[in-house]
Symmetry: D2
Subunit: 334 residues, 4 copies
Amino acid sequence: MTSELTNQFKEPIFDVAQIAHVEVLSPTPKETVAFYTDMLGMEIVDQVAHKTYLRAYEDNYKYSLIVTEGEEAGLGHVAWRTTSPQALERRVKALEESGQGIGWANEEYGHGPAYQFTTPDGHKMEVFWEVEYYDCHEDKHSKLMSRSQKRPKHGVPVRRLDHINLMSSNPAADTNFMAETLGFKVREQIVDNDHVIGTWNSVSNLVHEIAFMQEPTGAKGKLHHVCYWYGIPQNLYDVADLLKDHDYFIEIPPNKHGVSQAFCMYVYEPSGNRVELFGDAGYLIFDPDWKTLTWEMEDVPGNGDTWIGAVFPDSFWNYGTPAPATVPVKVAAE
Amino acid sequence: MTSELTNQFKEPIFDVAQIAHVEVLSPTPKETVAFYTDMLGMEIVDQVAHKTYLRAYEDNYKYSLIVTEGEEAGLGHVAWRTTSPQALERRVKALEESGQGIGWANEEYGHGPAYQFTTPDGHKMEVFWEVEYYDCHEDKHSKLMSRSQKRPKHGVPVRRLDHINLMSSNPAADTNFMAETLGFKVREQIVDNDHVIGTWNSVSNLVHEIAFMQEPTGAKGKLHHVCYWYGIPQNLYDVADLLKDHDYFIEIPPNKHGVSQAFCMYVYEPSGNRVELFGDAGYLIFDPDWKTLTWEMEDVPGNGDTWIGAVFPDSFWNYGTPAPATVPVKVAAE
Amino acid sequence: MTSELTNQFKEPIFDVAQIAHVEVLSPTPKETVAFYTDMLGMEIVDQVAHKTYLRAYEDNYKYSLIVTEGEEAGLGHVAWRTTSPQALERRVKALEESGQGIGWANEEYGHGPAYQFTTPDGHKMEVFWEVEYYDCHEDKHSKLMSRSQKRPKHGVPVRRLDHINLMSSNPAADTNFMAETLGFKVREQIVDNDHVIGTWNSVSNLVHEIAFMQEPTGAKGKLHHVCYWYGIPQNLYDVADLLKDHDYFIEIPPNKHGVSQAFCMYVYEPSGNRVELFGDAGYLIFDPDWKTLTWEMEDVPGNGDTWIGAVFPDSFWNYGTPAPATVPVKVAAE
Amino acid sequence: MTSELTNQFKEPIFDVAQIAHVEVLSPTPKETVAFYTDMLGMEIVDQVAHKTYLRAYEDNYKYSLIVTEGEEAGLGHVAWRTTSPQALERRVKALEESGQGIGWANEEYGHGPAYQFTTPDGHKMEVFWEVEYYDCHEDKHSKLMSRSQKRPKHGVPVRRLDHINLMSSNPAADTNFMAETLGFKVREQIVDNDHVIGTWNSVSNLVHEIAFMQEPTGAKGKLHHVCYWYGIPQNLYDVADLLKDHDYFIEIPPNKHGVSQAFCMYVYEPSGNRVELFGDAGYLIFDPDWKTLTWEMEDVPGNGDTWIGAVFPDSFWNYGTPAPATVPVKVAAE
């Protein structure tokens, strides 16, 4: 009875489970780490050579962020966890066949064997299965079983890593690569006269674990932002108030995104890397046959960017890291 | 290198995508429907014989709730959508083998072929692949592409169906049945001296699309509650305020659940069926190797039930529908 | 012991208690009233000739808003209630002496004898003591004793009138007039090279019941906005979402004001009159010896206007009603 | 024209402006102070002998709380600031005439001459005019002019002192005393068969700066609670989450009071003193001719106490400090 459909419908790939961690580069690692600890309430798990490993209080693995000292701000790498060891084998095979594979990593801090690769635009990534969980000291145990440790007493603490947004000289190429090799689905996209300006892609019920946005000058491999999650809308105003009083730069105040419906805000950490904070879950996608939503760029301002009044400043579309020497950091507020 | 693990790890089943709709029975269908429309801002899609089809404004299928006139309050059935037509074939095969299968449904209102079955406790369910989407009239289109229609102007409108909670004479048996035939994973459970009191199970990143709780008298097939989702914590207080002023019974005021971490509240609609409302996403599970969290019943009051002060009233553990003639409906407030 | 201070300190005037109601003019009264009822959940109390009387559900007098049909949008009048009949006598005497008095009003709908006057800029006002309370029908009584009626089931209902903001060709003159004749205290002000651009004035613990802002072209008697109060921050996002989906113009999305610290947003009702909505109480002033806070205009953008990122659009500083024929209504969103 | 009314209406007293500070006694001052600093984000201003002076970040005087080491938990004293030096003279005269006056205080830390007195039930109080403002170090200045210092980086910081609630063997007597000598107005009251169980009294637009509640055993001079203000509802959940994870006792979770409509919660600090936290402004009273709202005790549970579901635990009505040796501290959660 359903035999006809069976012939037509291509079953999804369920091999990648989640974003596991992100590495960012910072020429001012001390100040960058202080931003994440003092303002966002994250914890330093370890410091090895020029790398600081950090986690949010509901991240359940050993860490979700690496701040690595570097000459310029920008992306180090993004790590994905598969849904099984077999899934890892299948994805490594696909990555090898794509020609974008690098090989198995030498370093395995906090996880098992990791296969490295780059997107067509040159963003470095890795995929692994085995992972080390956070080992919470008895004094810090929460009675809340799903919480990895007690809620921190400092800053306005974020709960977990949410997603990454990368600038690309060719968003369509990167998007297709992620879909074909890792099974990402394109949930929403912005097109301008048939040119793909941005895509939001996920392997889960989230609208995205990874987005790609057009880098306007054609530069490659840039970072647009890393996003951490609160899940509580008011917390964005609380942390924004704290950030403002402590002289951090807020690029875009709390508002609801049209794309993803998430309650969001944007701030730059001291090295210049943009950080997004999420105040709710936006909408979640359960429909297994989701058709990509396509926004025309002309409909985006005041609808697709911030749903409620105001529009994104130019910096949102133009600024990524590494950035030119003269950074227009305070576009929005001056 | 990962070959050893491969031999050990059983890959998950990804065949069921989501809860698609729920049918509830009501001896007072007019009042029950008025509760859902006037208070929760839902829309009547169609009325056929003794059935009223309703949807929330971000539900993307034709309907998510059927209110059917019946002699007693309680559950009609629960419908699941698979991730593909092939997945439907596989699940039907597993259900047939389980001995719990009924057969293909005669009625296909709003969806394609549906295979019916019951849980060991007798709750009626169905599973299908093809589904009819909501056809929004042009006047009601939202500029927000992921929203199925404009936000309603009445009540405090819920956004989408979230989950179902069923009382069972044997929660462990129902839980195992859902895991084995449909691939549900047990995210959290409550045990009392090794006896399973409750389980929270999902096929998605949610902590649960279905929960089973011990029915204390051994009665079978009862409904504990249906849950709709706001995603915004304050909305629970807004709707609670509205419900209180319009004389509906609020069993449990807004609070954070320990289990699932969701911001929740409970109310009874006029027929006596319990309805839960969710104010956020709780925590989401991305770890593909999640180990079931086990609460001892003695740790639940003030931790697993409501995280912040107060504990659940007895009615929460004892009351389901259909209920005995003398219902202790106002346990909490009197 | 305190005798020296006694000689120095001028005791405050406590004769005006509150803003009692506001009359606005609208060339599209039907649409203006629909905005207040469908979106803000207000109730029509009465309609007499070309006037519609409205109230919010926690306003305790008969009405707080009059929408009067007029050729142009703008202010009708503002009404103040005194703290006693004796206080009314004293204020009438002061108003008569100021030369701005008009005389006792012919019309006393919903209140007792009202003495009329204008500000130096020509805004019409009145002051009275006796007032008619809202007579709530038994069916609509709330169990919440301080609530004048049940929470409405439509729109995102505002709770009460909060304040008025008037554009003036000479804010300093109007401010001094209100201080001298009615006892208003200047809580905050903006100056630009010693010229007063705006003042926020109150007779209560609020930062203002009335503000005056510089009209840039020198036009007189304009209305900047009327403000209604929710007291709950999230409600601003809820009503903004509703307004956006129903095609109303949101000039400034929810944000925290620097001046007053109130959580605010701005929208235009269909006739072009600006409406502000307040999501909390901002800060309250209890210090009886409050010293006016003075902002330099150069420090206002990004601090005194919206505290968290972004700045006010030009329309906020330039647009009032009545407005020139070609109104730049959609400055912010286009 | 208004001459008749003039003869009838008694003009209000406007001589007391606000609650200025509260002194609490604690047998565990170190732990009590740690609660206020680590959890509520307050700052230690000074420590002199057995007294610690603390303030919230939007308190504008030098301090709002004194924690004094004592053998038992309970109230030290409450301080009120007048609206002028003349008002102080008038109130001292009235207090002297009442027979409850003690005399001018020997100690004037942080303020000028203070006249001491007790309520009929024996609660110690003082009233003064001159006050020392908080002297904010340049490094801690906020750009927000109405904020006394930057928002703190630790705990979930409260903004200012709100009110005090005292248990009394005779609430009516204490209420009348405050009205007659200091001009307090009774905003709401609870009566049980004509006996006054509780009163909420204010000199400002707040529903209360001071409440009196019946002490059930007839003990005198007890403290029910001190209340600090957030003004943001979600902050109650944030601080409750923090308190729960750090093992403090939450007596009543966040909920809306019927009396005062305030969003509230109750916790005990380590010495056993109850602390309330306010998440919004409730409703504000602007009507100068406010008639006391009277609740019958039988209507209070589920309406006057917590508006939305649930009722107060017995401890709320019975427990104050100093408390009997065996304190039923964990009534609610066990």
